[in-house]
Protein backbone atom coordinates (compact mmCIF):
# COMPACT_ATOMS: atom_id res chain seq x y z
CA UNK A 1 0.00 0.00 0.00
CA UNK A 2 2.86 2.37 0.84
CA UNK A 3 4.39 1.80 -2.59
CA UNK A 4 1.04 2.44 -4.26
CA UNK A 5 0.58 5.70 -2.35
CA UNK A 6 4.11 6.78 -3.18
CA UNK A 7 3.48 6.13 -6.85
CA UNK A 8 0.28 8.20 -6.70
CA UNK A 9 2.16 11.09 -5.08
CA UNK A 10 4.89 10.97 -7.71
CA UNK A 11 4.97 12.74 -11.06
CA UNK A 12 3.04 9.81 -12.51
CA UNK A 13 0.21 10.15 -9.97
CA UNK A 14 -2.28 12.29 -11.92
CA UNK A 15 -1.76 10.23 -15.09
CA UNK A 16 -2.31 6.93 -13.26
CA UNK A 17 -5.39 8.31 -11.51
CA UNK A 18 -6.75 9.82 -14.74
CA UNK A 19 -6.26 6.51 -16.51
CA UNK A 20 -8.13 4.61 -13.80
CA UNK A 21 -10.95 7.19 -13.60
CA UNK A 22 -11.32 7.21 -17.40
CA UNK A 23 -11.40 3.42 -17.62
CA UNK A 24 -13.92 3.22 -14.75
CA UNK A 25 -16.06 5.92 -16.39
CA UNK A 26 -16.49 3.69 -19.43
CA UNK A 27 -16.75 0.45 -17.43
CA UNK A 28 -19.53 1.84 -15.22
CA UNK A 29 -21.58 2.53 -18.35
CA UNK A 30 -21.08 -1.12 -19.24
CA UNK A 31 -22.23 -2.07 -15.73
CA UNK A 32 -25.42 -0.04 -16.03
CA UNK A 33 -24.81 3.70 -15.54
CA UNK A 34 -26.28 6.05 -18.21
CA UNK A 35 -24.56 6.48 -21.58
CA UNK A 36 -21.32 8.47 -21.46
CA UNK A 37 -22.17 9.03 -17.77
CA UNK A 38 -20.25 6.28 -16.06
CA UNK A 39 -19.03 9.00 -13.75
CA UNK A 40 -20.34 12.56 -13.67
CA UNK A 41 -19.84 14.50 -10.47
CA UNK A 42 -22.47 17.11 -11.34
CA UNK A 43 -25.08 14.67 -12.70
CA UNK A 44 -24.64 12.31 -9.77
CA UNK A 45 -24.96 15.15 -7.28
CA UNK A 46 -28.11 16.17 -9.15
CA UNK A 47 -29.43 12.60 -8.86
CA UNK A 48 -28.76 12.69 -5.12
CA UNK A 49 -30.60 16.02 -4.85
CA UNK A 50 -33.54 14.33 -6.57
CA UNK A 51 -33.39 11.25 -4.37
CA UNK A 52 -33.56 13.51 -1.32
CA UNK A 53 -36.61 15.27 -2.74
CA UNK A 54 -34.80 18.57 -3.33
CA UNK A 55 -36.21 18.42 -6.86
CA UNK A 56 -39.02 16.38 -8.34
CA UNK A 57 -37.65 15.50 -11.77
CA UNK A 58 -38.69 11.85 -11.55
CA UNK A 59 -36.18 10.60 -14.12
CA UNK A 60 -33.06 11.78 -12.28
CA UNK A 61 -33.41 10.57 -8.70
CA UNK A 62 -30.93 8.10 -7.25
CA UNK A 63 -28.50 8.02 -4.34
CA UNK A 64 -25.41 7.45 -6.50
CA UNK A 65 -22.97 5.53 -4.29
CA UNK A 66 -19.98 6.80 -6.27
CA UNK A 67 -20.33 10.23 -4.64
CA UNK A 68 -20.18 9.15 -0.96
CA UNK A 69 -17.45 6.79 -2.17
CA UNK A 70 -15.34 9.76 -3.32
CA UNK A 71 -15.71 11.46 0.05
CA UNK A 72 -15.02 8.36 2.14
CA UNK A 73 -12.14 7.17 -0.06
CA UNK A 74 -10.52 10.56 0.24
CA UNK A 75 -11.18 10.68 3.99
CA UNK A 76 -9.55 7.29 4.55
CA UNK A 77 -6.55 8.12 2.36
CA UNK A 78 -6.03 11.44 4.14
CA UNK A 79 -6.69 10.14 7.65
CA UNK A 80 -4.35 7.16 7.38
CA UNK A 81 -1.57 9.37 5.98
CA UNK A 82 -2.11 12.03 8.68
CA UNK A 83 -3.13 14.50 5.96
CA UNK A 84 -6.60 14.95 7.46
CA UNK A 85 -6.54 18.66 8.29
CA UNK A 86 -9.89 20.25 9.12
CA UNK A 87 -9.90 23.81 7.83
CA UNK A 88 -12.39 26.44 6.64
CA UNK A 89 -13.15 30.14 6.64
CA UNK A 90 -12.12 31.22 3.14
CA UNK A 91 -15.37 33.03 2.21
CA UNK A 92 -17.56 29.94 2.66
CA UNK A 93 -20.81 31.68 1.70
CA UNK A 94 -19.27 32.89 -1.58
CA UNK A 95 -18.09 29.35 -2.26
CA UNK A 96 -21.64 28.11 -1.67
CA UNK A 97 -22.89 30.31 -4.52
CA UNK A 98 -19.93 29.43 -6.74
CA UNK A 99 -20.96 25.80 -6.27
CA UNK A 100 -24.57 26.73 -6.93
CA UNK A 101 -23.80 28.44 -10.25
CA UNK A 102 -21.17 25.88 -11.26
CA UNK A 103 -23.98 23.33 -11.05
CA UNK A 104 -26.35 25.49 -13.11
CA UNK A 105 -23.72 25.81 -15.84
CA UNK A 106 -22.99 22.08 -15.74
CA UNK A 107 -26.68 21.21 -16.07
CA UNK A 108 -27.12 23.61 -19.00
CA UNK A 109 -24.28 21.74 -20.74
CA UNK A 110 -25.33 18.39 -19.19
CA UNK A 111 -22.16 17.34 -17.44
CA UNK A 112 -19.24 18.32 -15.27
CA UNK A 113 -15.69 18.47 -16.69
CA UNK A 114 -15.24 14.75 -15.98
CA UNK A 115 -18.31 13.96 -18.03
CA UNK A 116 -17.28 16.40 -20.76
CA UNK A 117 -14.17 14.28 -21.27
CA UNK A 118 -16.17 11.04 -20.92
CA UNK A 119 -18.63 12.26 -23.56
CA UNK A 120 -15.80 13.10 -25.93
CA UNK A 121 -14.26 9.68 -25.33
CA UNK A 122 -17.61 8.13 -26.21
CA UNK A 123 -17.77 9.97 -29.55
CA UNK A 124 -20.20 12.71 -28.48
CA UNK A 125 -18.79 15.63 -30.44
CA UNK A 126 -21.14 18.07 -28.69
CA UNK A 127 -18.70 17.76 -25.80
CA UNK A 128 -16.17 19.75 -27.82
CA UNK A 129 -18.23 22.92 -27.43
CA UNK A 130 -18.44 22.23 -23.69
CA UNK A 131 -14.71 21.62 -23.36
CA UNK A 132 -14.05 24.79 -25.37
CA UNK A 133 -16.28 26.65 -22.93
CA UNK A 134 -14.48 25.07 -20.00
CA UNK A 135 -11.11 26.29 -21.30
CA UNK A 136 -12.48 29.81 -21.81
CA UNK A 137 -14.04 29.81 -18.32
CA UNK A 138 -10.75 28.69 -16.77
CA UNK A 139 -8.99 31.37 -18.85
CA UNK A 140 -11.22 34.10 -17.45
CA UNK A 141 -10.54 32.77 -13.96
CA UNK A 142 -6.79 32.94 -14.65
CA UNK A 143 -7.06 36.63 -15.54
CA UNK A 144 -8.57 37.23 -12.11
CA UNK A 145 -5.89 35.08 -10.43
CA UNK A 146 -3.14 37.12 -12.11
CA UNK A 147 -4.77 40.23 -10.71
CA UNK A 148 -4.58 38.88 -7.18
CA UNK A 149 -7.96 37.21 -6.84
CA UNK A 150 -8.37 35.44 -3.51
CA UNK A 151 -11.29 34.32 -1.38
CA UNK A 152 -9.05 34.82 1.65
CA UNK A 153 -7.26 32.46 3.96
CA UNK A 154 -8.76 29.39 5.55
CA UNK A 155 -8.03 28.67 9.20
CA UNK A 156 -7.53 25.45 11.05
CA UNK A 157 -10.85 24.09 12.38
CA UNK A 158 -11.54 21.88 15.39
CA UNK A 159 -10.82 18.22 14.68
CA UNK A 160 -14.45 17.13 14.33
CA UNK A 161 -15.39 19.94 11.95
CA UNK A 162 -13.81 17.99 9.12
CA UNK A 163 -15.94 14.96 9.87
CA UNK A 164 -19.19 16.54 8.66
CA UNK A 165 -18.85 15.51 5.01
CA UNK A 166 -17.61 11.96 5.68
CA UNK A 167 -20.50 11.51 8.16
CA UNK A 168 -22.94 12.89 5.57
CA UNK A 169 -21.56 10.38 3.08
CA UNK A 170 -22.24 7.57 5.56
CA UNK A 171 -25.77 8.89 6.06
CA UNK A 172 -26.37 8.84 2.28
CA UNK A 173 -25.17 5.24 2.10
CA UNK A 174 -27.46 4.32 5.01
CA UNK A 175 -30.42 5.86 3.15
CA UNK A 176 -29.41 3.93 0.03
CA UNK A 177 -29.18 0.60 1.84
CA UNK A 178 -32.27 0.93 4.05
CA UNK A 179 -34.48 2.85 1.55
CA UNK A 180 -36.84 4.23 4.20
CA UNK A 181 -40.38 4.96 2.97
CA UNK A 182 -42.20 7.08 5.49
CA UNK A 183 -43.23 10.06 3.38
CA UNK A 184 -46.78 11.08 2.58
CA UNK A 185 -48.45 8.84 -0.04
CA UNK A 186 -46.25 5.92 0.98
CA UNK A 187 -43.25 7.16 -0.96
CA UNK A 188 -40.21 9.14 0.01
CA UNK A 189 -38.51 10.74 1.82
CA UNK A 190 -36.04 9.06 -0.54
CA UNK A 191 -36.98 8.79 -4.20
CA UNK A 192 -35.61 6.39 -6.79
CA UNK A 193 -36.30 6.85 -10.50
CA UNK A 194 -38.36 4.13 -12.15
CA UNK A 195 -37.22 5.18 -15.63
CA UNK A 196 -34.73 7.55 -17.31
CA UNK A 197 -31.08 8.20 -16.45
CA UNK A 198 -31.81 7.91 -12.72
CA UNK A 199 -32.89 4.29 -13.25
CA UNK A 200 -29.75 3.43 -15.21
CA UNK A 201 -27.51 2.28 -12.40
CA UNK A 202 -24.47 0.08 -11.92
CA UNK A 203 -24.67 -2.49 -9.08
CA UNK A 204 -24.21 -0.73 -5.74
CA UNK A 205 -21.12 -2.72 -4.73
CA UNK A 206 -19.32 -1.94 -7.99
CA UNK A 207 -20.31 1.74 -7.96
CA UNK A 208 -19.28 2.17 -4.32
CA UNK A 209 -15.98 0.35 -4.83
CA UNK A 210 -15.22 2.53 -7.86
CA UNK A 211 -16.06 5.67 -5.85
CA UNK A 212 -13.84 4.61 -2.93
CA UNK A 213 -10.93 3.76 -5.22
CA UNK A 214 -11.22 7.05 -7.11
CA UNK A 215 -11.54 9.00 -3.87
CA UNK A 216 -8.41 7.36 -2.51
CA UNK A 217 -6.36 7.80 -5.69
CA UNK A 218 -7.47 11.38 -6.33
CA UNK A 219 -6.69 12.39 -2.74
CA UNK A 220 -3.16 11.08 -3.10
CA UNK A 221 -2.49 12.37 -6.62
CA UNK A 222 -4.48 15.66 -6.47
CA UNK A 223 -6.13 14.76 -9.77
CA UNK A 224 -8.06 17.86 -10.91
CA UNK A 225 -9.56 18.46 -14.33
CA UNK A 226 -9.80 22.22 -13.92
CA UNK A 227 -6.41 22.64 -12.27
CA UNK A 228 -5.09 20.68 -15.25
CA UNK A 229 -6.08 23.40 -17.72
CA UNK A 230 -5.26 26.21 -15.29
CA UNK A 231 -1.71 25.04 -14.54
CA UNK A 232 -1.01 24.30 -18.19
CA UNK A 233 -1.97 27.82 -19.27
CA UNK A 234 -0.76 29.72 -16.22
CA UNK A 235 2.42 27.94 -15.26
CA UNK A 236 3.19 25.83 -18.36
CA UNK A 237 2.97 22.89 -15.95
CA UNK A 238 1.49 19.70 -17.46
CA UNK A 239 1.58 17.72 -14.19
CA UNK A 240 -2.20 17.65 -13.74
CA UNK A 241 -2.96 17.79 -17.45
CA UNK A 242 -1.34 14.37 -17.86
CA UNK A 243 -4.29 13.13 -15.80
CA UNK A 244 -6.83 14.52 -18.25
CA UNK A 245 -4.90 13.10 -21.22
CA UNK A 246 -4.76 9.68 -19.55
CA UNK A 247 -8.48 9.91 -18.71
CA UNK A 248 -9.35 10.55 -22.37
CA UNK A 249 -7.12 7.78 -23.70
CA UNK A 250 -8.29 5.18 -21.16
CA UNK A 251 -11.99 6.04 -21.51
CA UNK A 252 -11.72 5.97 -25.32
CA UNK A 253 -9.85 2.64 -25.31
CA UNK A 254 -12.35 0.93 -22.98
CA UNK A 255 -15.29 2.36 -24.96
CA UNK A 256 -13.77 0.97 -28.14
CA UNK A 257 -13.31 -2.49 -26.63
CA UNK A 258 -16.86 -2.54 -25.21
CA UNK A 259 -18.45 -1.21 -28.41
CA UNK A 260 -19.53 1.98 -26.65
CA UNK A 261 -17.79 4.44 -29.01
CA UNK A 262 -20.49 5.99 -31.20
CA UNK A 263 -19.22 9.09 -32.97
CA UNK A 264 -21.60 11.89 -33.96
CA UNK A 265 -23.54 14.94 -32.87
CA UNK A 266 -27.12 13.63 -33.01
CA UNK A 267 -28.90 11.31 -30.57
CA UNK A 268 -26.07 11.18 -28.07
CA UNK A 269 -27.12 9.97 -24.60
CA UNK A 270 -28.17 12.71 -22.16
CA UNK A 271 -26.87 15.48 -24.43
CA UNK A 272 -28.20 18.25 -26.66
CA UNK A 273 -26.88 19.86 -29.84
CA UNK A 274 -27.33 23.54 -28.94
CA UNK A 275 -23.62 24.34 -29.18
CA UNK A 276 -23.84 27.95 -28.02
CA UNK A 277 -25.30 26.86 -24.69
CA UNK A 278 -23.07 23.80 -24.44
CA UNK A 279 -20.26 26.34 -24.68
CA UNK A 280 -21.66 29.04 -22.40
CA UNK A 281 -22.82 26.59 -19.73
CA UNK A 282 -19.27 25.35 -19.37
CA UNK A 283 -17.79 28.87 -19.49
CA UNK A 284 -19.82 29.52 -16.34
CA UNK A 285 -18.81 26.23 -14.72
CA UNK A 286 -15.14 26.61 -15.65
CA UNK A 287 -15.03 30.10 -14.20
CA UNK A 288 -16.82 29.11 -10.99
CA UNK A 289 -14.57 26.08 -10.50
CA UNK A 290 -11.43 28.12 -11.12
CA UNK A 291 -12.45 30.79 -8.62
CA UNK A 292 -13.16 28.03 -6.08
CA UNK A 293 -9.79 26.36 -6.74
CA UNK A 294 -10.74 23.07 -8.38
CA UNK A 295 -13.12 20.91 -10.40
CA UNK A 296 -16.17 19.33 -8.76
CA UNK A 297 -14.41 16.01 -8.29
CA UNK A 298 -11.57 17.78 -6.52
CA UNK A 299 -14.04 19.70 -4.33
CA UNK A 300 -15.57 16.40 -3.16
CA UNK A 301 -12.11 14.95 -2.52
CA UNK A 302 -11.04 18.02 -0.51
CA UNK A 303 -14.30 17.92 1.46
CA UNK A 304 -13.36 14.38 2.48
CA UNK A 305 -9.93 15.41 3.75
CA UNK A 306 -11.43 18.03 6.04
CA UNK A 307 -11.72 21.14 3.87
CA UNK A 308 -14.95 22.74 5.09
CA UNK A 309 -14.91 25.36 2.33
CA UNK A 310 -14.91 22.62 -0.29
CA UNK A 311 -17.74 20.98 1.65
CA UNK A 312 -19.75 24.20 1.44
CA UNK A 313 -19.06 24.38 -2.30
CA UNK A 314 -20.38 20.82 -2.65
CA UNK A 315 -23.52 21.71 -0.70
CA UNK A 316 -23.95 24.71 -3.01
CA UNK A 317 -23.83 22.28 -5.93
CA UNK A 318 -26.48 20.10 -4.26
CA UNK A 319 -28.83 23.03 -3.70
CA UNK A 320 -28.06 24.37 -7.20
CA UNK A 321 -29.15 21.02 -8.63
CA UNK A 322 -32.44 21.28 -6.76
CA UNK A 323 -33.05 24.75 -8.18
CA UNK A 324 -31.89 23.68 -11.65
CA UNK A 325 -34.76 21.23 -11.97
CA UNK A 326 -37.42 23.00 -9.90
CA UNK A 327 -36.88 26.22 -11.90
CA UNK A 328 -36.54 24.45 -15.29
CA UNK A 329 -32.96 25.62 -15.69
CA UNK A 330 -31.48 22.23 -16.58
CA UNK A 331 -31.26 21.31 -20.24
CA UNK A 332 -32.78 18.16 -21.71
CA UNK A 333 -31.95 16.28 -24.91
CA UNK A 334 -34.32 18.81 -26.58
CA UNK A 335 -31.87 21.60 -25.72
CA UNK A 336 -31.32 24.41 -23.25
CA UNK A 337 -34.33 26.19 -21.73
CA UNK A 338 -34.83 29.96 -21.82
CA UNK A 339 -34.75 29.92 -18.02
CA UNK A 340 -31.47 28.04 -18.12
CA UNK A 341 -29.99 30.59 -20.51
CA UNK A 342 -31.04 33.43 -18.22
CA UNK A 343 -29.67 31.68 -15.15
CA UNK A 344 -26.37 31.07 -16.96
CA UNK A 345 -26.03 34.77 -17.67
CA UNK A 346 -26.93 35.67 -14.06
CA UNK A 347 -24.34 33.16 -12.90
CA UNK A 348 -21.72 34.77 -15.13
CA UNK A 349 -22.49 38.22 -13.76
CA UNK A 350 -22.14 36.78 -10.25
CA UNK A 351 -18.83 35.06 -11.00
CA UNK A 352 -17.39 38.10 -12.78
CA UNK A 353 -18.42 40.29 -9.84
CA UNK A 354 -16.71 37.88 -7.43
CA UNK A 355 -13.61 37.89 -9.65
CA UNK A 356 -13.43 41.67 -9.71
CA UNK A 357 -14.33 42.31 -6.08
CA UNK A 358 -12.22 39.70 -4.28
CA UNK A 359 -8.73 40.94 -4.82
CA UNK A 360 -6.44 40.91 -1.83
CA UNK A 361 -3.07 42.59 -1.58
CA UNK A 362 -0.74 39.97 -0.20
CA UNK A 363 2.45 42.07 0.15
Amino acid sequence: MKGFNKLLMSRLGPAITGGVVGALASLLVFFGNPGNMGICVACFTRDIAGALGLHRAGVVQYLRPEIPGFILGSFLAAFLAKEYRPRSGSSPIVRFFLGFFAMIGALVFLGCPWRAYARLAGGDWNALAGIGGLVVGVGIGIVFLWQGFSLGKADKSPKWAGAMMPLSALALLALLFFRPLFGAEGTGPVFFSASGPGAAVAPVAIALAAGLLIGWMAQKSRFCTVGAIRDLIMLKDAHLFNGVAAFLIAAFAVNLVLGQFKPGFESQPVAHTNQLWNFLGMVLSGLAFTLAGGCPGRQFIMSGEGDGDAGIFVLGMLVGAGFAHNFSLASSPAGATSFGMTATLIGMVFCLAVGFLFRIKMD
Binding site: E83, R87, K156
Partner: protein, 73 residues
Amino acid sequence: MADTVTVDARGLSCPQPVLETKKVLEKLTAGRVEVLVDTVTSRENVARFAGSRGWKVEKEERGDGFCVVLLKS
Protein backbone atom coordinates in the same frame (compact mmCIF):
# COMPACT_ATOMS: atom_id res chain seq x y z
CA MET B 1 24.39 34.86 3.39
CA ALA B 2 21.50 36.89 2.03
CA ASP B 3 18.43 37.48 4.17
CA THR B 4 15.67 34.92 4.11
CA VAL B 5 12.48 35.97 2.37
CA THR B 6 9.35 34.44 3.89
CA VAL B 7 6.12 33.78 2.01
CA ASP B 8 3.18 32.97 4.26
CA ALA B 9 0.81 30.99 2.04
CA ARG B 10 -0.96 29.16 4.84
CA GLY B 11 -4.71 28.86 4.33
CA LEU B 12 -4.65 29.86 0.67
CA SER B 13 -6.37 27.64 -1.86
CA CYS B 14 -4.99 26.45 -5.19
CA PRO B 15 -3.12 27.90 -7.03
CA GLN B 16 -2.38 30.90 -4.82
CA PRO B 17 0.53 29.42 -2.82
CA VAL B 18 2.35 28.82 -6.10
CA LEU B 19 1.48 32.29 -7.44
CA GLU B 20 2.72 34.00 -4.27
CA THR B 21 5.94 31.97 -4.50
CA LYS B 22 6.29 32.82 -8.18
CA LYS B 23 5.98 36.54 -7.46
CA VAL B 24 8.84 36.38 -4.97
CA LEU B 25 11.12 34.12 -7.02
CA GLU B 26 10.79 36.37 -10.08
CA LYS B 27 12.38 39.21 -8.11
CA LEU B 28 15.34 37.10 -6.98
CA THR B 29 18.27 35.60 -8.85
CA ALA B 30 19.60 33.83 -5.77
CA GLY B 31 19.03 33.51 -2.04
CA ARG B 32 16.90 31.69 0.45
CA VAL B 33 13.10 31.71 0.46
CA GLU B 34 10.90 30.06 3.04
CA VAL B 35 7.33 29.30 1.97
CA LEU B 36 4.93 28.42 4.78
CA VAL B 37 2.02 26.21 3.78
CA ASP B 38 -0.52 24.11 5.68
CA THR B 39 -1.40 21.29 3.31
CA VAL B 40 0.61 18.55 1.63
CA THR B 41 -0.94 19.63 -1.69
CA SER B 42 0.43 23.16 -1.38
CA ARG B 43 3.80 21.84 -0.19
CA GLU B 44 4.15 19.60 -3.22
CA ASN B 45 2.88 22.24 -5.66
CA VAL B 46 5.31 24.86 -4.38
CA ALA B 47 8.18 22.36 -4.35
CA ARG B 48 7.45 21.22 -7.90
CA PHE B 49 7.17 24.79 -9.18
CA ALA B 50 10.37 26.02 -7.52
CA GLY B 51 12.25 22.89 -8.59
CA SER B 52 11.22 23.50 -12.20
CA ARG B 53 12.67 27.03 -11.92
CA GLY B 54 16.05 25.74 -10.80
CA TRP B 55 15.73 26.22 -7.04
CA LYS B 56 17.00 23.60 -4.59
CA VAL B 57 14.06 22.47 -2.47
CA GLU B 58 13.99 21.26 1.14
CA LYS B 59 10.78 20.37 2.95
CA GLU B 60 10.37 20.65 6.72
CA GLU B 61 7.48 20.20 9.11
CA ARG B 62 6.85 23.39 11.02
CA GLY B 63 4.10 23.90 13.58
CA ASP B 64 0.87 22.52 12.23
CA GLY B 65 2.05 22.85 8.64
CA PHE B 66 5.15 22.79 6.52
CA CYS B 67 7.98 25.03 5.46
CA VAL B 68 9.33 24.67 1.95
CA VAL B 69 12.86 26.05 1.91
CA LEU B 70 14.05 27.23 -1.50
CA LEU B 71 17.76 27.84 -2.11
CA LYS B 72 19.73 29.17 -5.04
CA SER B 73 23.29 30.45 -5.06
